[in-house]
């Protein structure tokens, strides 16, 4: 989608005239800029077009390295260029840029044969969010161990600022992991959905594949449900849900920072 056309504005609105062609190669060089001594400025203005477009494509490449590795650099940059022109950043914080990229990939006709690619991008987005999230000490296992057994089901948990859950109907976690390491990627044999738990309890990032029902359980806890309610919801959706294993896994991952009795 091209940016809305802004006709020649007031004199001081040189920015509107200058920026309209930056992401729209169909538009000519703005009339009010030249080279020295009124020289032509098309190639000169193209330096700005190039700086803007290439730097934003580079930003997407840094945020989505697994996606880039999967589709190849040339394809990725062509795809990213279309995205950059359609959805330029709305914030000067580039680590926030590209939240719409996974949805864009879902709808991109040339990646239709890779229906899982958008979910790989979602995990990469969650990874970067976790990277920049606020620091907080994770919940110590002893804290939960000290809760009397009869009160456990009424406890509610505070999610860690870096914790993210990404659900996928495809083996997105396996594909993500294979393409974020530097070694060769073998044939991916996994089938079926995989849910990711992204955490950063201290400075190191972790991406885990959640066990059956784990995503429903964690999302419910993040929504403020008690442990009992979240477990019931998970069991209802996934009979294989193992409460003990999931509690152990979420503590080990550092997914939460605090636990308290509901309504206190």
């Amino acid at each position: 989608m091209p940016l809305p056309h802004r006709p020649e504005g007031p004199r001081n609105d040189f920015t509107g005239r200058f920026c309209a062609p930056l992401l729209d190669p169909e538009r000519p060089t703005p009339r009010d800029v030249t080279g020295p001594r009124s020289k032509a400025a098309d190639k000169r203005y193209d330096v700005y077009r190039n700086n803007v477009t290439v730097s934003l494509i580079d930003t997407l490449g840094e945020t989505y390295p697994a996606v880039q590795r999967i589709v190849g650099r040339t394809f990725f940059r062509d795809m990213a260029r279309i995205f950059v022109r359609a959805e330029p950043p709305r914030s000067p914080l580039l680590f926030e840029y590209g939240r719409g990229f996974s949805a864009f990939i879902d709808d991109f006709e040339h990646t239709a044969s890779m229906p899982w690619l958008g979910d790989v991008a979602r995990i990469e987005r969650a990874w970067l969010d976790a990277y920049h999230a606020a620091d907080a000490p994770p919940l110590a296992p002893e804290t939960l161990a000290n809760v009397p057994a009869e009160s456990l089901s009424t406890m509610v948990f505070t999610p860690h600022p870096a914790m993210r859950v990404v659900r996928s109907a495809y083996p997105a976690v396996t594909i993500f992991a294979a393409n974020r390491q530097s070694g060769p990627v073998g044939k991916i044999l996994e089938r079926g959905g995989e849910d990711a738990l992204v955490t950063r309890p201290h400075l190191e990032l972790f991406v885990r594949k959640l066990p059956p029902g784990g995503a429903v359980f964690l999302v419910a806890l993040c929504g403020g449900r008690t442990l009992g309610e979240a477990a019931a919801e998970a069991l209802d959706r996934e009979p294989r849900f193992d409460l003990g294993a999931n509690i152990a896994a979420m503590l080990e991952a550092g997914a939460f920072t605090a636990v308290e009795a509901a309504n206190c």
């Binding site: 080279g35 190639k43 203005y45 934003l56 950043p89 000067p92 920049h132």
Partner: protein, 302 residues
């Protein structure tokens, strides 16, 4: 100079005038920490540290413990006609409060129009109207951070037919009206002089050197313009060019040792290579320092 203490945190107060420093890149942290770094300071782009926490702040906190830090904003859009982004200004001021940088600087450029962020330092015409908005914006930044900032001269590829001021007159008038200091990017002077066919030496003799609190040096790349003539690109992806070192030598000869940053933001080399560039700047300053040792000029920002 006394250390600065905020709450329980102590910030070593290092004077940076007359010292050469380097861009801090996270991939260099290990080399810097393990081997120590013979540099006077590190400078970072403010926007890279506007996340809430995580490895970026851990690395910067580590660096700030042992070195002075200079904070360089690249996205404030001071040169544009629209009001500054209040949220961005708040984040910028919070970062100044968090790290107590020795110098805070921004660009004479713009990057946001409406709410679209173009991620480049875009040029502005030099008119009475743009002069007023730039000065208003600098007043606003300086009042938000409660200290003077330095404004950096741009590198440009085009000129605006409507400009009424020379770049140096425009910048001098901004410094006069707002009390801000100046960041003289010598590579930008060379790039713009080449691109627009003026003399870099003339530019420097018109530039209000008495307000310069920091100097930037960087590498540039070569392309050609519409007529096939040389067009330099401010690419920050290589060593400082010989011609830029010569200009730098002349500037230091005129204004004495000034905090000098070697920037390297793309195709980033090993730490030792970047450190050698900063060393080269230090050597030039040291050679001139004798002439400025007694009653010499000191940088405006400290």
């Amino acid at each position: 100079m006394n250390d600065i203490t905020i709450g329980s945190r102590r910030f070593p107060a290092f004077p940076v005038a007359g010292r050469a420093g380097a861009s801090f890149k996270p991939q260099h942290l290990e080399a810097i920490v393990s081997a120590g770094a013979r540099v006077g300071f590190f400078e970072v782009h403010a926007e890279n540290y506007m996340g809430a926490g995580g490895p970026p702040h851990a690395a910067l906190t580590r660096i700030r413990r042992d070195y002075p830090l200079l904070l360089h904003g690249v996205c404030m859009s001071i040169g544009g006609p629209q009001p500054l982004d209040k949220d961005h200004l708040d984040r910028f001021a919070a970062l100044v409060g968090r790290y107590v940088p020795a110098v805070v600087s921004e660009h004479l450029a713009w990057s946001t129009h409406d709410d679209v962020f173009y991620n480049d330092l875009l040029p502005l015409p030099f008119t009475a109207a743009t002069l007023r908005t730039v000065c208003d914006h600098i007043d606003e930044v300086q009042s938000a951070i409660k200290r003077p900032m330095l404004l950096e001269n741009p590198s440009t590829y085009v000129v605006f037919a409507e400009s009424e001021f020379s770049e140096t007159d425009f910048i001098a008038e901004i410094a006069r009206r707002t009390g801000c200091g100046l960041l003289l990017d010598v590579n930008n002077v060379f790039v713009s002089a080449t691109n627009h066919g003026f003399s870099a030496l003339d530019y420097l003799s018109e530039f209000p050197l008495q307000h310069v609190g920091e100097i930037h040096l960087a590498g540039h790349a070569e392309q050609t313009d519409d007529e096939g003539e040389l067009l330099l690109i401010d690419s920050h992806d290589g060593p400082v060019a010989d011609a830029v070192w010569k200009l730098y030598d002349i500037v230091i000869g005129r204004c004495g040792p000034v905090a000098t940053l070697v920037e390297w933001d793309s195709a980033i080399p090993d730490w030792t290579i970047l450190m050698a560039e900063a060393d080269a700047a230090q050597t030039i300053m040291d050679r001139h320092s004798a002439s400025f040792a007694i009653g010499g000029r000191h940088a405006v920002a400290s």
